[in-house]
C-alpha cells in the first residue's frame, strides 16, 4: 500500500523525496511514508499560503465535505490564484484534512496540520467535531506559544461555540442555531393558519437545541400555537420513519419543525410525503447532495429551510458569474455553502491588511471586520464573541423561478423571506480570554 | 464397597429411550469391559458416567458419593478420567502442552494466573514422565494435530491418565488401528492402568478377553449380562444377542 503514496507524490515532491529516500534506503517503504511527511516541514521563500480544510472526505458523511472542498478550492483559484495570488504573488493552497467526521480523527488530523505547519484550519461539519477542534486548539495554543492555530468555523452551529465555550482562536461564519431559529419562528409566527407544531429531531445536542428553542421562541411569539409533539429519535439508526409519521398525523399538527440532516432528513420527509400528510416542513438542511433530487416534485412548496445564502433569484451578477464558472468546471456539484466563500475572502482581507499569515494577526484583524460579500450582503464579525452576523433567508423547495437548481434536478431553493444583518443580532454570554502578545 | 455404582440409570432423548434401567457395580482395581452391538448405548453410558449427559432417572455414585448430573469438570476432579472414541485432544497445542494441561488441575494449579508454568519444575518433569510412558518424548514440541493417528490415540490416552485418576474410562481405544499398532496400544493400556480401575468399550473381542476381569454386555440400552470372560463366552443370551451375529475374529 505505500505505493499509493508514491504515485501521488512522485510528481511535485519528487526530488526532495528521492533525496530523503536515499538516506533511508534501508528503511522499508512504510517507514519511508512517515519519513516523507517529515520532509514537508521544510520551508521556502515564495511558498504558497497553505490553508487547511478539515471535514469528512471519506466515509458516510463525505458528500458534504467533498462538496465544501470543491467550493473552497474553486473560490481560491477563481478569486485569487487566477489573479496573481495574494500577499504579493503567493498562491493559496488548500490542504484537505480528512477527519471522517470523527472527533478522534479530528485530533489526529489536527496533529498532522501542526506537523505540516498549517496554521489556519477551515472546518464546518458536526458541532461535536467543532467543539473538539475548538478545545484541542485552545490547549495546543496555550502549550505551544508561537505555533498558534486558528479555527475558521464555517458551518457548525452549536451556540456554545460563541457563548460559554467561545475562544479567541475560533471564528464562526455561520449563524448559530438560536439565531436561525429566531428567524424561523418569526416566519412561522407570521402564518396565522398554523396552530399546532410537531417537533421531531435527532437525539443529540443540535436536535435538542432546536427543540428547546423552538418551544421557547414560539411561546414568546405565538403563545396560541400548541406544541403537539416533541420527539427525539436516535441519530442515523431509524430504518423507517413511518411510525413517527403516524404519531405526527394523529397529533393533528399543522406543521413539522426538524433539525435533521442527511439521510435522516430525506427519510423523514419521504415518509411524511408517502403517508399523504400535507403538512409543511420547516428545517435547516434539506437541500443539495442528492436530497433535492430525491425530494423532487413530491416535496414542492412543502419544505422551507433557513440558511445564510440568498437562493434564487441570485442578488448580484458577480455571484452569478461565480456560480456559472463553478458549474462549468464541476457540472455535477453545486455551491452548497457560500459562507465558505465569505470566510475565505474575509480571512484573505485580514491577511492583506496585516501583510501577515500569522493566526494572531489575522484574528485581531478579523475582530469587528465589516465586509460586503459577492452577493452584496453586509457582514459583520462581532469582536466580543467572534460570531459573524449576516442576513438570513428562508427559502422553499420548488421548481419555479429557479435559475440555479440543485443536483441538476430542475428543483432548487427559492427565497421567500429575508432578515437583514441588524435584525439578527443576539446577545451572547462569551467571556473571552485574550492571549497577550 | 464398590468404586462406581450405577443404580437403575435411564436416559431418554425425546421419546427414545437409549439407556434403560442399567445397574452396575465396578470394584476398585477391576478391569471392566462393556461390549455390545453398534447403537446399543455404550458411548451414551460413558457420557452419563463422565457427566456429558444428565441422567433421566437413576443414580450414579463414585466412592460412595452421588455424581450424576454434576458437570464433567466436577466429575473429573473427583478422579474419573476418560478418553474418546473420536480423537479428542488440543490440536493446536504441542504434545507436551497437551499433557501438561491435563496435569494442571490434579497438581493443584487451579485457575492460577500468577504462576508461570515454565517455572514449575515438578509439573514439567511429571509431564515428561508421562510423555515417556506413552512413547511420545521425541515429539514433545510438535503440534499435536500433526501427529500420526496412532500417536494421537496414544496422546489421547496420555491426556486421560495424566491426572492420576482412580477410574479410567476408555472408549474404543484401539479403533482404527493396524494390528501391530493395536498390540502396542494394548501394552500401553496395561502399563498405564496398572493399579487403577478401568472401564472400556471395545469391539475387538481378543483385546476385551485379554484385558478384562469382568465384562458387561449392553444390548438395546440394557445390560443383559455381567460376568467373567469365561462365563460371558458361555452365556446363551449373549451368544444369541451379540456374539452370534458378529464374528469376533475381526
Amino acid at each position: 500500500m505505500p505505493l499509493i503514496h508514491d504515485l501521488y507524490h512522485s510528481q511535485s515532491k519528487k526530488n526532495r523525496f528521492a533525496a530523503q529516500r536515499s538516506i533511508k534506503k534501508i528503511a522499508s517503504l512504510t517507514i519511508g511514508a512517515v519519513a516523507y511527511t517529515l520532509s514537508l516541514t521544510a520551508a521556502s521563500a515564495q511558498e504558497p499560503v497553505r490553508l487547511g480544510f478539515m471535514d469528512p472526505l471519506s466515509g458516510t458523511f463525505a458528500s458534504v465535505g467533498t462538496s465544501g472542498l470543491k467550493a473552497l478550492e474553486f473560490a481560491a483559484d477563481y478569486f485569487y490564484n487566477s489573479r496573481g495570488g495574494i500577499l504579493g504573488g503567493r498562491m493559496i493552497e488548500i490542504v484537505p484534512l480528512d477527519n471522517k467526521q470523527s472527533p478522534t480523527e479530528t485530533q489526529l488530523q489536527f496533529r498532522r496540520a501542526v506537523s505540516e505547519e498549517l496554521r489556519i484550519i477551515f472546518q464546518g461539519n458536526s458541532s461535536a467535531v467543532a467543539n473538539t477542534l475548538n478545545q484541542t486548539i485552545a490547549k495546543h495554543n496555550r502549550r505551544n506559544a508561537g505555533q498558534e492555530v486558528l479555527q475558521i468555523n464555517y458551518a457548525a452551529v452549536d451556540p456554545i461555540l460563541t457563548n460559554e465555550e467561545c475562544s479567541f482562536w475560533h471564528f464562526r461564519f455561520d449563524a448559530h442555531a438560536i439565531m436561525k431559529l429566531d428567524v424561523l419562528t418569526d416566519f412561522i409566527a407570521m402564518n396565522d393558519e398554523l396552530n399546532s407544531i410537531y417537533i421531531i429531531g435527532q437525539d443529540y445536542s443540535f436536535g435538542q437545541v432546536v427543540a428547546d428553542n423552538t418551544i421557547r421562541l414560539l411561546g414568546e411569539k405565538r403563545p396560541d400555537i400548541e406544541i403537539v409533539g416533541n420527539e427525539f429519535h436516535p441519530i442515523g439508526q431509524v430504518k423507517d420513519f413511518t411510525p413517527y409519521v403516524t404519531k405526527i398525523a394523529s397529533s393533528g399538527a399543522d406543521a413539522v419543525v426538524t433539525g435533521n440532516f442527511g439521510a435522516d432528513m430525506v427519510s423523514l420527509a419521504r415518509s411524511i410525503i408517502d403517508s399523504g400528510l400535507t403538512v409543511p416542513i420547516y428545517t435547516f438542511y434539506a437541500a443539495y447532495d442528492g436530497i433535492t433530487a430525491t425530494l423532487g416534485a413530491d416535496g414542492k412548496d412543502r419544505i422551507r429551510l433557513i440558511h445564510t445564502d440568498r437562493a434564487n433569484p441570485l442578488a448580484s451578477d458577480e455571484r452569478r458569474e461565480f456560480y456559472r464558472a463553478f458549474k462549468a468546471k464541476n457540472p455535477d456539484s453545486d455551491i452548497t455553502q457560500s459562507r465558505l466563500v465569505n470566510a475565505l475572502m474575509m480571512v484573505v482581507q485580514a491577511m492583506e491588511q496585516t501583510q501577515s499569515t500569522d493566526p494572531y494577526d489575522i484574528a485581531v484583524k478579523l475582530e469587528d471586520m465589516r465586509f460586503t460579500s459577492i452577493a452584496g450582503d453586509e457582514l459583520w464579525m462581532r469582536g466580543e464573541d467572534h460570531q459573524l452576523f449576516q442576513p438570513l433567508y428562508i427559502s422553499k423547495h420548488t421548481d419555479e423561478g429557479i435559475e440555479f437548481d440543485a443536483d441538476n434536478s430542475g428543483f432548487g431553493l427559492f427565497t421567500e423571506y429575508e432578515v437583514s444583518t441588524e435584525d439578527t443580532l443576539t446577545d451572547h454570554s462569551c467571556r473571552m480570554r485574550r492571549p497577550r502578545r | 464397597m464398590s468404586l462406581l455404582t450405577l443404580d437403575a440409570v435411564c436416559k431418554s432423548f425425546g421419546s427414545t429411550r437409549i439407556i434403560n434401567d442399567v445397574s452396575l457395580d465396578i470394584e476398585a482395581g477391576e478391569k471392566h469391559a462393556i461390549i455390545g452391538p453398534n447403537g446399543a448405548g455404550k458411548s451414551t453410558l460413558f457420557h452419563l458416567i463422565s457427566g456429558r449427559y444428565n441422567v433421566s432417572s437413576g443414580a450414579i455414585g463414585f466412592q460412595g458419593k452421588s455424581i450424576h448430573n454434576l458437570p464433567p469438570y466436577e466429575i473429573a476432579r473427583r478422579g474419573i478420567a476418560r478418553s474418546f472414541q473420536v480423537t479428542n485432544i488440543f490440536p493446536r497445542m504441542s504434545v507436551f502442552e497437551n499433557i501438561r494441561c491435563a496435569l494442571l488441575w490434579s497438581e493443584g494449579y487451579r485457575y492460577s494466573f500468577w504462576q508461570l508454568v515454565g517455572r514449575q519444575k515438578k509439573l514439567n518433569e511429571k509431564s515428561f514422565g508421562i510423555l515417556e510412558q506413552i512413547g511420545l518424548s521425541d515429539k514433545a514440541q510438535l503440534p499435536s494435530g500433526e501427529l500420526a493417528y496412532a500417536q494421537q490415540r496414544a496422546l489421547e490416552l496420555g491426556v486421560a491418565i495424566a491426572s492420576g485418576a482412580e477410574l479410567i474410562m476408555l472408549d474404543e481405544p484401539v479403533a482404527g488401528m493396524s494390528n501391530s499398532e493395536a498390540e502396542n496400544a494394548v501394552a500401553l493400556i496395561r502399563r498405564i492402568t496398572e493399579g487403577k480401575t478401568l472401564i472400556m468399550v471395545e469391539h475387538d473381542m481378543n483385546i476385551v478377553f485379554d484385558i478384562a476381569d469382568r465384562i458387561s454386555v449392553l444390548v438395546y440400552g440394557e445390560i443383559i449380562a455381567t460376568d467373567t470372560p469365561e462365563n460371558i463366552r458361555g452365556n446363551k443370551r449373549v451368544q444369541e444377542a451379540y456374539l452370534g451375529e458378529v464374528p469376533c475374529d475381526a
Binding site: M1, L3, I4, H5, L7, Y8, S10, Q11, V34, A35, T37, L38, L57, S58, T66, D98, P103, T104, Q107, L108, R111, R112, V114, S115, A128, N131, Q135, K139, R143, Y204, P234, I235, K329, N330 | S50, G51, R52, P71, Y73, R82, I89, F90, P91, R92, M93, E97, C101, L104, W105, S106, Y111, S112, F113, Q115, L116, V117, G118, V159, A162, S163
Partner: protein
Amino acid sequence: MKKQFPIWLGFALALILLPQIFDTVLGISILNQMTIWIIFALSYNMLLGQGGMLSFGHAVYFGLGGFMSVHALNLIADEIIVFSITLIPLVGGAVGLLAAVFIGSFSTRKSGTVFAMISLGIGELIVASSLIFADFFGGEAGVTGDRTYGPPFFGIEFLQDAEVYYLGAFWLFVATLFMYLFTQTPAGRMANAVRDNPERAEFIGYSTRRVRFISFCAAGLFAGVAGGLFAINYEFITEENLNALTSGRVLLMAYIGGLGFFIGPIVGAVILTLMNSLLSNYSEMWMLYLGIMFLLTVLFLPRGFAGFIMMHQTAWQNRRLGTLILPYLITAIPASLFLAGFVGLVELSHKGDDTLSFFGLILGTESMLSWGILLTLTGIGALGVKLSGPRLDAAWVLANTVRSDNGGDAQ
C-alpha cells in the same frame, strides 16, 4: 523468559528510540496511536486468538475505561482527588475489569455464536445508553479533560505529546509483558486448551466457563488500560470509542496481524494505524483499499501477516531462505505493476474532471489513452504474476524440503 530476554530488551530499546527517528508532531502522534492500539489489539487477542471467543463488542471496555479516565482527569483538575496522571491507565484498567466481571458473568457461558451475539448486543446497548446518559458520556460531543493538572511527575507536566509518548511506551511495555506472561500461566494455557477443545477441557477438570471468564476479565482489564492511555493522549473521549466500528477495527487489527501469534496483533495494529493515518491523506478511496486488503488477507493469509512471516521458519531452519529472495523479487515486479495499474484505475475513475498525476504522466478521465495505459499496466501485471507464480511455488517447495534429518516433513 531467559531465552526471550534479548527480545524484550530490543522491544524496550525500539520504544525508546522510535520517537528520536520520527520526531515530528505527526510522527509522535502516530506512535502514540500505536501504543494505544497495540495494547487494545493484544487484549482483544486474549479473547479471540488465545481464548477462541469472537467478540463484536470489545470497545465497550476500552471506552468505559477511557470515559472513567477522562472523568478522573477532571477530578484531578478540580483538585477533588490528588492522583498522578501517570497512573490513569490503572483507573481505566480497573473500570475495564469491573465491566468485564459484570458482563463476563453471563456472557462467557458459551463461546461461538452465542458469545459473539451477546457481545454485539451488549455493545449496541452500551452505545445507545451512552447517548441517553449524557451526563456521564457527554452525548455525541463526549467528555473533555486536561492532562496537565495534578502533581507533576519528576517535573514533567505532560504538556507535549512526546512526553505522553514515553508514558504510553512505559505502559505499553508493562501491559505487553503482563499479557505475554498471562499466556504462560495455568489460566493462560487453559484458555488455549478451551479454545482448541472445550469439551475435552471439561474432562480434565476445568470449567470452560470459568477459564473463559478469567481470560475475558483480563482482556477487559487491558482494554481499559488502553482506554486510559487514550484519555491521556487525546484528553477527550466520545461515544465512537465504544461503538461497533471501534470493535470492528480492533478485530481487523488482530486478524490481519495474525491471531495465532502473540506478536500478530502488534503487527496488525502497526499496519492499520499507519494505513489509517497516512493512506487517508492521499486518497479518498483509502477505505476501499483497506477493505480489499482485508479480504485478501482473510483469503490468502489466513494466519495473518505474522503467520506469513512465520511460514518462513522452515525455510530458515533449512537455511534456504536465501533461495526465496529472487523468486519473490521476480513476482514482486509484476505484482507492483498490477497494484499501480489497479490503484491508478480506481483513482482515475474517481477524478471526475480533474487529472491524475501518475508517475510523471498526467492522466485525464476523458482520454482513452489514459485508460488504455492503466488497463495495459494492470493486464501486464496480472499476466506477469500468473507466469511467475509457478516458479515461486517451486522455489517455495524446494526451500521447505528438508535437506538433512532435522525433523518435520516436507510441506
